[in-house]
Symmetry: D3
Subunit: 323 residues, 6 copies
């Protein structure tokens, strides 16, 4: 069985039951989310044996995070329980002021996960590993997180695991373009597999897609695989210099949060299981489509059977109920 | 007043408040549904005097089923209260893994209704009756249900009531194509009015619509009226050999369950009240359109006034609020 | 700071959590709404210093109405607490029998607000005022409301405030076309700024838009500004005889109630703040678009920042999440 | 089978999901209630064949009322559909400002039911009837309701049905003590079976229970049966001059509304079925106890089996789960 | 670390959001429960390393059961996924007709777990085990479950694990007293630790507690530890012939389901960790008290810290808020 | 009219809809609360003209806080909008592990309010003021808050307003007993009216009530009025050296949060309005009793009419419904 390891912050997401300005929302559903954990959960559901590194508070929400990972069968032996700092929380505002767009309000400063550091990494986690995943969010959380991320990349390389990196820029953590580049560049340079999106590319380089893609390719000197997520514009990959692209599926957009992570996870699982690039891109698209069509980041992540059912329905345009 | 009688199972439907994989759904709404009962309720709302034959458990959910029929004014004097077996239950999964599609999980094996048998039929139910309705689900439930269905068809014929039959194939009850054909053929041969859909035709005969329609026509030797429900492709009828067809209305699809039953009910009520075929098809389309635009099978079924309001709105493209 | 004053009834709106025939709805959300109060709240959120005149019952729902106005910072010193008559209530039926259309059921006969009369008007409310707003609903409520509305128009004129009037015909209050014209004509003749919609124009004059617009222009002898709200057909204005028009934004329609009021409010606030007509129309369109995309009349009303975010998103077609 | 007929108003009850001042309640459950209908429903559940006389609006809430009666099997052929006036609505405030007490806010003025009159009574409703029930609420609604109530009493007497009357004073309808006495006296004088409570007795006569009971006995010249409901103080009856009394069961009080009606219904059903007075009082107590322990007026009303289960549990103090 | 293994059925529990007759309940919460799994989860939360044996359907509800166990860190490698039979479901009716009592309606006939059999047991599960737990429910489910339970007891004995057994009679599975005794006797005779309750003792032997306790002691020839759960009457143990007893804590009873299982789990964990009997009984009482004070079987199960907080609060009668 | 001013933090309270361990709670209601704001709101509802000083984030939750104050008519012109720091949030866990006890989890570090400082105080706020209120929470938030609190006390004294202080110890902010004393002593020494509770007294001095009360009296050298809140043990006051005490009302405890603040507010309003001490204590008790019987801190706070209704009900033991 293939093994993957992720590193990142997992937060409690408070999502109002209704769309609209948060100030009028009085009822909230509690979810759990975190970009790297979303991706790792997607991989675990697709048959990869995953483990995850993070820190959570010694509080009730920390228990929620652990239960979420464990309920999927993800190994949590590397999760740090921080007695001093809390598990982070964020609030989501959906559909206001722009219909179908989401805004988020974070309570993550000084969180347990942002106090995760290189001292929490044990070399044993990396032995026998096939893939290590981190995104641009983790090094942006704090200096200790950045150091831990860099050390983890080194340990992965040392043990011959591939390094997957998603640029995932959070501008309210990174503050400026310059800091974004400074923080992410070391990871872009070392990644074996690199994911990015249109907005991130524009932020790092320039708004012209062709030129910024080229700039990224040059910087990503070790990356054999580059994946460009273009939202409703589909998905594109460059593998050993060859370009592949695929349009996205047309589905009703309910909640765009987490779709990119689902994409990454389905692509990486397909890749680890040795599927051809075209197939990996198709499954990435399917996972993204299913995820945008439902609320929550983690709940919609499909297993293989769910993806095959989706594909069968798409391909046949078949209209019968399944009962 | 025209009189109609239906026979079939009525179940408790547990419908989660949110779309998505059932394993993440923690809150469920309880509804009541059953294909033949949906159709009969539609007819009752359109002014036909209806009664219904079924069995329910001597439990709380049996009382829900009875209350649902009685609240519409449907005569329930023929409903059997089964002291030993429970009222069936099923769970609905909406929008996962295919957006806008529904999957169902049944707890109906050994239910009260599947123990309904010919011994529960009294000839008096059929006296003065204008129409008897059953669908392919009922004979698929159990041997006793199949015998009861056949005996009911005979009693209806004996008392000069028209027999309406909807093929309504449930493959998880019938298991194979062969068994489906074996179970349904006697009803197709004896029906005076026959309803079917694209999926059912393909299952019984072949996937080419024109050829399977022809095969059905030949088998349905006593049917003066055949109605083909084609989902978003509209509705088609063959009456005394003449074809009529009508496109469907464009409405947002919220829950496709029950739309076909609404169609049947509005067509049959129109027919019993002597409306021309074109009108009956139009009302069938309207009832289906209103039903797919709302959750629940029974709740959306329109009365005449609701259908006229819908038609007025469609025809005028009128945009004003009604207040 | 510019000052505006509104007059009208504010009601408790009971809005079921689900779409469909009201008889099957068992759970309702309580909202607060009233056409003129919606418009005034929109203006207050856009920086106009507003006050409001109405009467509420000496009951819990009257306290809800007062709290709603006060929470926005609207001056309620002119609100009458009526010890004898209740605050009005209405029930909303959404999506049945016509998808995306709303029906309302009022319990407003003999309400506190319909007992508001000229004796409750103090001249001091009109001193230093820039704009007075009333709509066709208020004079339709009762004779005393009609007299109060007329007296308020006179007091506004006396103190050099502009009079804004929206025809806002409620046929279940006005009963006949003739009574509608008789009731509204004095206000149309005296308004400085006049708002109307397609349905109202057809009711007052004739269904041909060009001709009825011309008829209105002739009757509205003092109106320098006429605004025609055409729903999804956009918005049109005639200012000192010159025509301006603008298409509406394409957004998903969730609840059309209150959109016209948001339009009026954004237009009037823009006008009072001295923005050019084209800009006022654009903001009217934005406020309407945001309001139809969310439930509730008052909750979605945007402030300037929300409107700029909406416009930025529209203009750039920008797809990134804001986080 | 014994037959009973009731007359009264049935309203839509809007009951917030939480306790507290109504102004802070934003979510409401819709129930159906009406004193006489509660009592009649209790009787129907206990095997009496019941019918009901009332008027409802030609609106969605009128359909709710009809469905509620019909779902129980109660004959609604005498219910008037009023095209002009609405079904009444009321709002409930629970637990504020007094814990465990309930306040109500009515929207019933000019309702369909208050326009019910003697012209709606057909003599055929009273043929073969065993019992006619009305309470002090109905004559308090309007003059036409009072006339209809008196005429119904006469028709009942003419056809040898017993007349049951509950004083059920609603002071916000009757306004004064004097009017209460004037309105209720004719019914007290003619009743064969009379129900009253401590508060009503104090309002009609004086606060001393012994003396006011004596006053009532004198006035109730035709009453063979008088039942005094004393809340947590138990229940008392005088039958042909002989006194019986029974303490109430100790249960947690969740919602006291409807408990008195349940009492009346269980007593009357027991009486009609020929049970001895002691038993009738015990069942009245049980029905009241079950009803105060749950929300809603109609939902908790027990059938015989439920009452026997309650009694078994009370008598044995038995603690095991039933599974 | 001490290791424990449980065997039993885990079901989906549908629990209405409100108390009252199930027929009026329209909203349900989904929980997970099963007597032996409740006990094992309680032990896992108290630091015992647990695994569980059961079968679940290859359906969404089977995934819920697995996720529930895994989220606690319980080893599920012995759980069978049954492709043919469904995960069982049951519905709960709270507070009707007896306040504070619960009734249950099962849909468990032919479930996946009832098809669990001796062929699913691997000897390796029992190596190094300290305790094996089963209750009287499992052998009552089916012949194959009975055989599996007996074989598991033998395997436990072979590998020197203690056998804990709770009589846990489900009369609707066992049908008669005779069958109850016949089914449970082999387990009573072989148990090392035996739990029972008042109702079970009366069912197996006679209603007199002293005599039936004596009868049980004689039959339980290998049991060094017998625990008698007496509900609000406290808890009693006989250890090597010596009697210990302790009164229960006074807490508000919200949901009595699962309290006995919590008791068992806290007692067993204390025992495995070497605590004295008095302490084990105290913690059993605490776990039971916390569990009856909250809804759900699994959610309330306390960890050591929660139990210490409860005890501190009880002992000090301390009233301050913890913040 | 009497005028009062409060200073303190107002937070968003996320309160799960169900009791139990927070990790299992998935649905939360949003409330608003803050000790001093609760007290000030209670005073405003009792006819005192209040204003409030605090800082909120320039975020949606800051708007909620402002709307809450404004909806009561409280003057918010001194509220600072902080562009950099967020409005604080806290989560409530009710009934676990101790039934009827509440635990809270704060996200308030670095909040807007904890950045409030002396620079935000304008002397004009204190002119014409009758009473200034602050509690021990505010100086515990940060150094700047402590300085602002001290400066506000001085300004109040300068303008002859009474200073009311509630010790209100939050040990998770103050960390140690020593720091608690050091932080609160200056306020205790300067207060004119002093409120405290049993837990606070024990923390500051010693657990013996009589001795610690005496210690407090000595330290509170300027306090003419000392109020001791003893929870279910009632309330006690020392006024100019004379002791008054009153037992508490017996009501069901639903949510103890905010009851002490309600007490303070009702006492202070009574005092400002010149009522005798006994009356002030009685109203303090009533306000506390109503507040513990309902969820939320602010919602239950009674006005005079509500308190009179409560008292009437208590005094008469009157049992009739109010309708």
């Amino acid at each position: 069985m293939k093994r993957a390891l992720g590193l990142g912050e997992i937060m409690i997401q408070m999502n109002p039951t209704e769309k609209g300005a948060l100030r009028f929302q009085t009822l909230y559903e509690r979810h759990v989310a975190g970009s790297e954990a979303n991706t790792i959960t997607q991989m675990q559901r697709l048959g990869i044996e995953c483990s995850f590194l993070t820190a959570v508070g010694a509080d009730e929400f920390g228990k929620v995070v652990l239960a979420s990972l464990r309920s999927e069968g993800i190994d949590t032996s590397g999760v740090v329980i921080d007695e001093k700092n809390p598990t982070a929380v964020y609030f989501v505002q959906r559909g206001y002021p722009v219909p179908d767009k989401t805004m988020v309000f974070y309570y993550r400063k000084g969180s347990a996960a942002s106090n995760f550091g290189p001292q929490h990494l044990k070399e044993e986690y990396f032995k026998g590993l096939d893939l290590f995943l981190v995104s641009g969010i983790t090094p942006a959380l704090s200096d200790s997180c950045k150091e831990a991320s860099l050390k983890a990349v080194e340990l992965a390389k040392k043990h011959s695991a591939k390094v997957a990196f998603d640029t995932n820029i959070r501008i309210n953590l990174l503050k400026t373009k310059e800091n974004a580049m400074k923080t992410l560049e070391p990871f872009i340079r070392k990644a074996d597999i690199l994911f990015t999106g249109m907005g991130d590319l524009a932020m790092l380089f320039e708004s012209d897609f062709d030129r910024s893609r080229e700039s990224l390719r040059k910087m990503a000197e070790q990356a054999r695989l580059l994946v460009f997520k273009k939202g409703s514009g589909g998905i594109e990959a460059i593998v050993d210099g060859k370009r592949y692209s695929m349009p996205s599926y047309k589905v009703p957009v309910v909640d765009e949060l987490g779709a990119g992570d689902a994409c990454d996870g389905a692509f990486l699982a397909s890749y680890l299981l040795g599927k051809p690039v075209e197939e990996a891109l198709r499954y990435a698209n399917v996972a993204g489509a299913i995820t945008v069509s439902l609320k929550g980041d983690i709940e919609p992540l499909p297993d293989w059977k769910a993806m095959e059912t989706f594909l069968a329905s798409q391909e046949a345009g078949e209209k019968r109920l399944l009962r």
